[in-house]
Symmetry: C2
Subunit: 239 residues, 2 copies
């Protein structure tokens, strides 16, 4: 199988994911939050591009069944129910509900995968579970790093590298890596202390400056959850 | 000073280089060829976007003063005087002449730097000379990897990392790296055998398949030349 890694939004688009397994990674914080929210009982997550779309979708679904969540500039959105910090998404808050989510980098990355055969949602929190699923599926894979406003994001690249390593460990042979996947592997090999790596990344530093250092610590936990969110028919749910 | 690295074409554009020193890297092969051609006596290199523009420019300059060079799909362009292999650009062939050049990845990267204060042309062949010039200039730096048709290219990232390392060695302190520059440093640290690294990259493998392995070996030479091509007013020359 082939494993490609796209570090930036400019590397996405149809041909990159067509007829492949797509994996979307936004460690700080969208995909970490999605995994955690679903494990905590959210029914599904609907990623949408804009605040207006999110509001319209919630009105369509009804106030009692949906919550609005997400961020702009890493801050909660006025009028929304929740921000984008994983710890907000407790069982008490999200159980049984639909989450309508819009974020700066993560939701556009998810929405870019429409040509893929299947789209999995990965973060450090569930990286090994996603690797196992990829090996079960057996298709070529394109790992899409959400990045940061079109730019390369170190924490996403390192998570992609850990994912590539896990797939290679499971498949043993016959895995072909593109230049991005090779680079991600090297970066993961050098990032032994993930909490420190996340803290030093541009996104991590920005979160610390906003007083959200706890989010960074939370998102640095490897394999906290054995769960694979799948994005299909406009919604993400555990399968 | 700040050092940013853009790995892909989607990370370029005005804000990335405005009022900064820009450095363009296309190890396989455009910037390697430009450095080598200028050292071998070419008067200057004019990078242009299209084959039609290149032909028009040569006609404007006159047959005796200009040569057409470049590639499409790594192959020479029909009707052009030279391809994009450094070894073609001998003193006998290029001395005193203007080279009008169009390539798939390198020339678009060069043309994306128009907002920069100054634009330097780097490759492994002259990486230390470019680092010294950057330190002399003292501005913030954006290193632009040409990449490969919009995708991440390992050989450009490794060259960028060597450049970052040389700048840090010279400046000792006060150097701030973005996520891309940190990643490039790690990749350079792991790429001890540059010839092997280039050979394994997607661009390197493609050149070997075309029977152009000698180009890869040539471009892997570190600091063959003590020369800094500068791109200014539509032309690149040694200064």
């Amino acid at each position: 199988v082939k494993i490609d890694v796209a570090f930036t939004s400019g590397e996405r688009g149809g041909p990159a994911v067509n007829d492949r397994t797509a994996v979307v990674i936004d460690v700080l914080r969208a995909t970490s939050t999605i995994v955690h929210a679903l494990v905590n009982g959210a029914k599904h997550v609907l990623p949408v591009a804009t605040v207006a779309e999110a509001v319209a979708k919630k009105n369509e679904l009804g106030r009692d069944t949906a919550l609005l969540c997400g961020e702009r500039n890493a801050e909660p959105i006025p009028g929304f129910d929740l921000g984008n910090a994983p710890a907000e998404f407790t069982p008490e808050t999200v159980s049984g509900l639909t989450l309508v989510m819009t974020t700066t980098n993560g939701t556009p990355a998810l929405l870019s995968t429409s040509g893929a055969r299947v789209c999995l949602v990965a973060s450090l929190l569930n990286v090994s579970a996603v690797a196992r699923r990829i090996v079960e599926i057996g298709d070529d894979v394109t790992i899409i790093c959400a990045g940061r406003e079109g730019r390369f994001a170190l924490e996403d690249a390192v998570c992609a590298g850990i994912l590539v390593r896990r797939i290679r460990e499971a498949r043993k042979s016959g895995v072909q890596l593109d230049d991005g996947a090779r680079a991600a592997l090297v970066l993961a090999g050098r990032a032994r202390n993930l909490r420190a790596t996340l803290k030093r990344s541009a996104a991590g530093r920005a979160l610390y400056e906003l007083g959200r250092g706890d989010d960074v610590t939370f998102c640095a936990q490897v394999d906290l959850h054995d769960a694979v969110p799948v994005f299909e028919q406009y919604r993400i749910e555990l399968t």
